[in-house]
Every structure is written in structure tokens, then in C-alpha cells.
Symmetry: C2
């Protein structure tokens, strides 16, 4: 009898299994394909590798202002792809090694819930006290007419390509679509980015959203908002896209259309055997990550709304769920989660936006420090960069921190820790970061919220 | 009668004056030359600008692995210099504007202490309740024979050059010397870096020091330790350097020798009028930044040992001193200071090293997470990168955090806040940073210290 059986060996399942085993559990992990899941094999990691190449090209183009002139750079996508495939293969080996070292039993096959305390794999029953569902998400089918045509691709179509398309229309609202758009543009593709939403990051602070759009448009990215694809059709080997948006109706001829939305992988999991929904929306869990069925936990993309489809959410919920399955009482703080975007500029948003904080009933104070006023930011020409802090006026408690600019994904940790520890603006104002860095602006934003900024005009 | 007169308009003096004015003080700031001090005009800021160019070149050279091939890059130092001079001129204007907006009186001239509560500028007396000494530091004279030859340069000689030297020997122990060495090397100079110390960063954790040396030597940098210059002489328009080091005696022919140590600017400040030392060592202050003379404070490079010659130390001590001069009780936490290095890889070290923590009587626990095991670190080939955490075993309180790797200067804030708030390893282990970033490794290092790392083998 296992203490915990984890279904799925991705960004959520692996840490869940390891954590449960570290807590003394007899643990098995069931994986049908390869370890690492969508994140490592087909999304976050290869996308970030591609953004790294994209960043270098961005740096080189910026270098022109610094007296670095380049006659042009050769871009070898097959070489880029080969490097990331080799690295990912290496990472996969690492996952298997770590699981074994932690004495997690690896079961290769398709796992299904066969009732409370029962998992079925390859026709065999695995009895267990707890089940952690960690099957993640899969690329969704394009919902527009013509979505089944050969040139309409998801992430797999991009990662498996021998060459990049000369022209592409990217449709959807996911943050990683923006990354792919910038990557393709930097690698020489003509790109149109079309979102069904009113804004590129509709849930985020207006400050961030506006600056992001300005930055991307300043780079020459064509953006359409409130967009819908009326139809995609094939003409002379290319795709004809009828696109409606707030800018009117247009027709675009492109090589490929990318659609990269994701939905929870609920099908064929046997969820109906315990009365859980097996299609459609995400699974509902309580603050302990437990579904309506005692002893069955769910994590990551299975429970996250689209705004939380990030592998760090998967691993955080995984570690919490594993602890709970092993008898601890781990409760997730919903306000320490980071929404992140690895474009140039990067975006990292933690906790409540000013609007959300007001809606939650706080008397809100907001402070900001534009990177355009930060010494290193001036060197970087960070015209769109900023850090914005949101706090409760009464006690000064930090409620949210929102960044756009270079390296900001690496700065989110300070905000996460601050919210977790209920730090106040006074405490943040005292954090003297090294000079010259962009992170110095966090203290200045706190001082700005307190009405005593030092370096801002 | 002024409440506060600040002597020196650099990285320390400016925030001191603004903070004192914000607290309701009548404040004057006395500056002989231009605002911004050594940091903005002649060190941190222009050096960081040069490191930005250097980083882009480093990125491009790394890009080769990612399928980005470049036929070579033109390096135009005069263009780089022009951009930084324009940016610095703009920053200087910003400083003056901010001082005026905060109603700080600007007095142009050489200020001198003329007794307790008396400052003399241009022959005029300015009576005041408090004096904040903020004159910073100046380039020291080379102590070796031949140090007065024309080709022996300090930072000014580098920043004012029309062209970069084809060959250079850099002698000294300052971290910024490493930055200049890497910059020169990336821009095509033949470089020898010689330190009188046993290690490149002798005060830092062994983990960091060893990895830094390995990284720089891996880039082809010639490093000599325990070095001393026996003599520099001029021969056929070049400099002949007789160098002794742990590797023996050598003779090098180079275009220039850089010597960039700095000492406190104590001379001609009238310090003898109040019984303070006016040459030699740094000024002594108490934990409130006050010298032995009541009402006379000193900050930044005037009080910092060479390991604290950083402008963020100047501004932090400035804000504390200004508060104290205005009647607050600000006490500096000596363990939240960051030692930083903007080479590739960067170094950022906060708080106690393992050795220092042991010497301070703690039962020490150390945890580390190499970036070579971090997913983004693998993409970046961060073979030398690591984060190392030092904590007190009994309560798990964080005592120090030490980084080497890309972007780590932007990650120090999380450690500073953690030490300031007396966070424990348990609390750090729960900080779920965005994926894939290097900052994820902070939580993993905390888990490693707690014996329950998840991703490390």
C-alpha cells in the first residue's frame, strides 16, 4: 500500500513525489511519456532558451548605441533547437536520477483513478492512501473555422520545425504567445500578434500593461486587440486569415497561424469514478489542494485558472499538496504567486494590483519608481521600465509588487518574501540594494508610496 | 542657522541633504566640483556603462552556442564614452533639480570644518547645528617605484582616454579593477590582473572566490596573486613592469599600468579644528554615524573600510546620518550590506561568510544550490554560478547569502530583506520564485541547508 501515488511526472508531479518521499512516504509516480512534462519538454524551458537567443539579438541591436556595430548575425534555428533538445534530454535524466535517489517508485504507463485509494496503471491496481493528480495541461484545439488546417500550429509545431516561418499570425491571450512573437520577430519573421482581450495582459496593473504594449509596439510588433479569427483558409500554399479586431476587419496572408492556449488534462483520468469532472473547467480544490474527494489532491495546471498556468505554481502547489497528503497542514498564500513574461522587457507581477486591492476593501497606497530615473536604467535606456508597489495605507503592509523591465523576473523574490513575511513599506524603504542596479528602485518606490522618495523628481 | 550642512555632493551627500530636508531641516550642501561625486562621474556609473557593452560582447560570444554567428563586431570606444558622458551630464542635472525641489541650498565651493557648528566656504562662515562629512574618496597614489610615470593611470586615465590601450597591467585589490580588466579584455586589450592579496576577493566565501577565479581564468584572463610591483620603468615608449608574485618574478612590457585604489578624502577639510584625523585612515563613527565630535557625522567612503567603498553604502549611511542629525535614532544593520562585482559572472555577497559566522560564535549551517543544476542556469551554461546561504543552526536565522552568476546583483535584495527581517531558512524555502529563473535556486539552497532539497542530486 503506497502512501501517495502521483499521476504525472511534470513540473508539479516530480516535486510532489519527492516531497512526499522526504516526509517518509512510500511513493510512486506514474508517467506515460517522458519526465519533465509540458514545461520542461515543450514549453517553459525550450521557450526560455529561445528567448535567451532573442535577448542576445536584442542586446546586440541595443549595442549599436554603445558603439558596438555588427555587420549582421547569422541565425541558425536548427542549431538552437539542437542545443535545447540536448539540454532538455540531460534535464530529463536528472529528474529520473533525483526521483530514484529519493526512493520514489517510477511506474511507466497511463495512470487512472479507479476509485478512492485506487490507481490503475497498465491494467494493474496500485492501492494507495492518497492520490495527487498532476497531469497538467495540453494544447487546446483552435476554436476558429479552419483551425484544423495543416499550418495552424501549437507550441509543438514551433519546437519541431526545421525552419522558422517567414510570416506568422499568433492568436490568443497567453503570456508565452508574446514571448514566441518576439522570438519570431527577432529571428526575422513578419509577425502579427492578435489577442481576444482588451489588453495584452488584461489582469495586470494598468501601469504595466500600457508600458508593455508601448515597448512591443516600439519594437515594431503589430498588435491587434479584441481580436477574433473569423476564418482561416488555405490559398496557394499559404494561410489566409480573416481577422476582426478593434481596428476593423483585415485579411492576412501568412505561412502559419500559432494558437497556444492550454486546458487542463482531465480526460481519460478516471475522474468520473470518484465523481470529479473529467472535462471542461479546472478541478476545484480547497486551500490545502484537496479536491472534494478526501485523499485526492490536485495541483498545477489542473487547478490553476489560465492566469496561473506556470510551472512555479505547479511546483508550489505540489509541495503543499505532498505535505498535506503526508499529514502536515500546508496552506498556500494566494498572494505570493508571480505572473511572469520573459520578453524584452520582462514582466513580473506578484500579489494584488491597485484595482484588486481596492476591490478587496483596502485603503490603497501606490508607489512607483520608473527605471528611466534609475541610474542603471538610464544606461539601459529603460524607458518603459518601472516598479510599482501596492500597499495597505493603514499599516503600510505590502500587497503587491509589479515590474516591467530588464531582469525583473529575478527581482520578484524580494516581493514574494516581503508579502509572505507581511513586510511594510517602511521595511522595504530600508532595503539598500547594490548600486547601480534596477533593484534599487524597489526601495525608492516604497519611499515614493510613503511620500519621501529621494531620487525621483 | 542651518540644521544640517553637508560637505560633498556625491552618492552620500546628496541623499543626506535631501533626507534631512524632508525631515524639516534647513539644509545646505557644499560641493566644489560637480554633483554626483566619484561614483556618478568617474567610477560606478561609467564603469557599469562600460560593463554593459562588455556584457553584450560576452552575450554575443555565448550566442555562438545558440546558433548565432557573428562575423565580428566593431568596437567604438569614443562612441561608448560619448554616450556615457551625455548620460552622466543628464544625471547631474537631475541631482541639482532634486536638491532644489527639496529646498536644499546649494553652495558651490570648497567647504571646511571651522570648528563645532561652523563650516567655512569661500571665506564665508555657515553656522549650523550639524555637519555631515560626505567628501568620499580619491584615487590613491601608486605606492610602487615608477608609479609617477605618465603611463601609470587611475580611473580618470581610463575614462578620459581617446583610445583603449593594446596592453595593460592592472594592479590592486579593488573589485572594480576586475570589471575594468574584463572590459579591456573584451574590447581587445591584452590584460594582466595582479592582486597583492592571496585571492581575488579575499574577504569572500571560498565558494565564491574559487568559482570567480575559475570563471575569469576560463575566459583567458591572466591573473597573478600575492603580487607586488618591484618597479615600473619607461622603455621605448612602453612601460616595463617588474612583477613579483606567487608564480615568481616576471617582466611585462605594456602600454599602461592601472592602479585604482582609493582612500578617504580627508585632507583640507579642516578636521584638525575639531580634533579629527585629517589624513590616513577612515574616520571612526559610532553606530549612529556620528564621529567622536557631537553633531559631526561622517558617511560613505570616509568611514568605510576598502571592502565597503560602494556608493550604496554611502547612500545608506547618508540616510541614517541625516535622520540622526534631525533627531531620529537610526542604527545601521552591519549585516545587510552587499559587496558587488559587475563582471560576467557577477558577484553579490550579503552578510556573513561561513567563516565569519563561525568566528562570530554561531553554530553554522550552510546550504548551496549551483546554477549548473538550475534549469535556466543550464540554458545559460552557468557552470561557475551558485547561491550559498549561511544560517544559524539553532533557529535557522539567515546570516548571509552569497552569489556568483548572471544577474545576481539584482537578486541581492531578497537576501538583504531576509536578513533585515530575521527570516529563517524555513521561510526562504517557501519563496516560490518564477520559473525558469536563477532566483529559484535561493529556495533550493535553503532546502539544501535544511536537508531536503528537491531538485539537487
Amino acid at each position: 500500500m503506497k502512501d501517495v501515488v502521483v499521476l504525472g511526472g511534470g513540473a508539479g508531479g516530480v516535486p510532489a513525489a519527492i516531497r512526499a518521499a522526504q516526509l517518509g512516504g512510500q511513493v510512486a509516480i506514474v508517467e506515460e511519456n517522458v519526465f519533465g512534462g509540458l514545461c520542461m519538454n515543450r514549453a517553459c524551458v525550450p521557450f526560455r532558451h529561445m528567448m535567451l537567443a532573442s535577448d542576445i539579438l536584442g542586446g546586440l541591436s541595443f549595442g549599436d548605441k554603445l558603439g558596438l556595430s555588427s555587420a549582421g548575425v547569422g541565425k541558425d534555428f536548427p542549431a538552437l533547437r539542437k542545443r535545447q533538445e540536448e539540454l532538455i534530454a540531460f534535464m530529463r535524466m536528472g529528474v529520473a536520477t533525483t526521483l530514484k535517489k529519493n526512493k520514489v517508485e517510477i511506474i511507466q504507463g497511463r495512470g487512472k483513478v479507479a476509485g478512492k485509494g485506487k490507481v490503475e496503471v497498465n491494467g494493474q491496481m496500485v492501492p494507495c492512501k492518497n492520490i495527487i493528480l498532476a497531469t497538467g495541461s495540453t494544447w487546446a484545439r483552435p476554436p476558429f473555422p479552419g483551425g484544423d488546417l495543416a499550418g495552424v500550429l501549437n507550441g509543438d509545431g514551433l519546437l519541431g520545425a526545421d525552419a522558422l516561418p517567414k510570416s506568422a499570425l499568433l492568436f490568443g491571450a497567453s503570456p508565452w504567445l508574446l514571448e514566441v512573437a518576439q522570438f519570431l520577430q527577432r529571428f526575422g519573421s513578419d509577425v502579427i500578434l492578435a489577442t481576444p482581450e482588451k489588453a495584452l495582459l488584461p489582469q495586470e496593473s494598468k501601469t504595466i500593461e500600457t508600458r508593455l504594449r508601448k515597448a512591443l509596439q516600439g519594437q515594431g510588433m503589430a498588435v491587434r486587440r479584441e481580436a477574433a479569427i473569423a476564418k482561416v483558409s488555405k490559398e496557394k500554399g499559404k494561410l489566409q486569415v480573416a481577422l476582426d479586431s478593434r481596428d476593423g476587419s483585415e485579411s492576412h496572408t501568412v505561412e502559419v497561424v500559432f494558437y497556444m492556449e492550454r486546458g487542463p488534462s482531465l480526460e481519460n483520468l478516471g475522474l468520473e469514478s470518484v465523481g470529479l469532472n473529467s472535462q471542461g473547467d479546472c478541478l476545484k480544490v480547497n486551500e490545502r489542494m484537496e479536491t472534494q474527494v478526501e485523499g485526492i489532491y490536485a495541483i498545477g495546471d489542473l487547478i490553476g485558472p489560465p492566469t496561473r498556468q506556470y510551472s512555479h505554481y505547479a511546483s508550489e502547489t505540489a509541495i503543499a499538496a505532498a505535505g498535506n497528503a503526508m499529514g502536515l497542514r500546508n496552506v498556500l498564500n494566494p498572494h505570493t504567486f508571480t505572473r511572469v513574461l520573459f520578453t524584452q522587457p520582462q514582466v513580473a507581477c506578484v500579489g494584488l494590483t491597485p484595482k484588486e486591492a481596492k476591490e478587496a476593501g483596502y485603503e490603497v497606497v501606490v508607489g512607483a519608481a520608473p527605471f528611466g530615473m534609475n541610474p542603471y536604467g538610464m544606461l539601459l535606456a529603460e524607458n518603459e521600465g518601472i516598479v510599482e508597489l501596492v500597499a495597505d495605507k493603514k499599516y503600510g503592509e505590502l500587497l503587491g509588487g509589479h515590474f516591467i523591465g530588464s531582469h525583473v523576473s529575478e527581482m520578484a523574490g524580494q516581493i514574494i518574501l516581503a508579502i509572505q513575511m507581511e513586510a511594510t513599506l517602511e521595511e522595504l524603504a530600508r532595503v539598500s540594494c547594490p548600486h547601480p542596479t534596477l533593484s534599487e528602485s524597489i526601495a525608492e518606490a516604497a519611499r515614493n508610496a510613503l511620500g519621501r522618495h529621494i531620487y525621483l523628481p
